[in-house]
């Protein structure tokens, strides 16, 4: 507050961009952001659109289910690490049923049985353990993150079963399909974001930070009353 008054006292202060305390590296982040946007517009989106055109929704859902199933193993691990044992057992049961009856995960039979999909990762576990998000961070190619979630993501990928796939050519193919399928899933959401936002960078950042906070508290964070 004192700074605000000091600012008023000085001339030309109105032109100084006020820093958002959650995003101290905004200048740097915006640089990476515009790089990502360029890659997205010229490479990722066209590939994703072609993918959507070639493959029927039904098949894309199966592809998504396959990756989603593999991820359930570590979603479970993270639930255990957060002390949510019932959820962890739920995730591992999902993996067991979907891998067997669901033919390597392409059918999500577990959901039909009432075992619901959870959303967990190491970033959320760190948050649950009390780590704050730290500064907002845009990762090259991957987009919105924070220092905490970036560290979490590194572990997510380090332990991901996908990285163990061999031969290397198979592993790389799986990576490729995973990214294209994920981007294809987000085409619609991306369009809505584009329409809704005045400043896409800010809108996306705030949505990401709100979303992560909500996920850490499993959908019911302590309510911040807007006044």
């Amino acid at each position: 507050m004192r700074w605000a008054w000091l600012c008023l006292a000085l001339s030309g202060c109105a032109t100084v961009e006020e820093r958002d305390p959650r995003d101290p590296w905004e200048g740097f982040n915006r640089g990476i952001y515009s790089f990502n946007e360029t890659v997205d517009v010229y490479v990722a989106q066209p590939v994703a659109r072609a993918y959507v055109k070639v493959l029927h929704q039904e098949i894309r859902t199966r592809v998504g289910n396959f990756f989603s199933n593999v991820q359930d193993i570590f979603i479970g691990v993270n639930n255990f690490l957060q002390g949510k044992f019932v959820d962890g057992v739920n995730d591992w049961a999902r993996f067991t049923f979907n891998t067997t009856f669901g033919l390597l995960g392409i059918h999500d039979v577990a959901s039909e049985m009432g075992l619901e999909k959870n959303n967990e990762d190491f970033g959320q576990t760190f948050g649950r353990w009390g780590a704050g998000p730290g500064p907002y961070l845009i990762l090259p190619f991957l987009g919105s993150s924070t220092v905490r979630d970036g560290a979490g993501l590194a572990i997510d990928w380090w332990v991901a079963p996908l990285t163990e796939a061999r031969p290397i050519a198979l592993r790389n193919t799986l990576y490729g399909v995973y990214f294209v399928n994920t981007r294809a899933d987000l085409l619609e959401a991306g369009r809505i974001l584009e329409e809704a936002a005045l400043d896409k960078y800010v809108f996306q950042r705030d949505a990401y930070l709100q979303r992560r906070r909500s996920l850490i508290y499993d959908g019911s964070p302590p309510r911040e009353k807007l006044e």
Binding site: E116, K117, N119, A196, V202, F203, D206, Q210, S214, L226
Partner: protein, 204 residues
Amino acid sequence: MKKFFATLALLAFGVPSLAQDPAPDALVKSVTLEVIDLISKDKEIKSGSRAKLVEVIEAKVLPHFNFTAMTALAMGQNWNKSTPEQKKRLTEEFKTLLVRTYASALAAYSEQKFDFRPLRAKPTDTDVTVNVRVLQPGAQAVTLDYSMEKTANGWKCYDVMVGGVSLVANYRTEFANTVRNSGIDGLIKDLQTKNRSLAKQDKK
């Protein structure tokens, strides 16, 4: 005689319940199901008519929203610094943008199932959250949380949280930044420009 009793029953039970405002969770459910039913039957909407979709939203959904409250929340402290005329124009432009966004989200709807959660509130509460979950195979359910306030004209929604992201809160920084850089009139102008370019897109 049968008819007489039926009429009596209607007078005794039916009419008062019509006069009474529906509970917030019942309201969300009936409006959601009605809109979904309308858009999945309407040929024009199915073939991609944005105008028709917006028409449905304006007729069925808008009456249950308090856009002045939404705009005030998104504006934060700047709301009190606005003149009545500015407030009116801000609300109008913000409403147009939100309706447009809502239409885009609805247009992407494809047969997902809804899970309407029982309301966790006391009957005397005047500010409640209605929780709905959109279920989709292979992915975590998307939560829709409607913040609703009791008014003289029934329950009105003043914020929607999608997957934990409050729509109103998400505009706060954007609005504050724009007002800081170009004033309240600058924000009105930005919103107008945005809405016009979106309207142009729809015509293409």
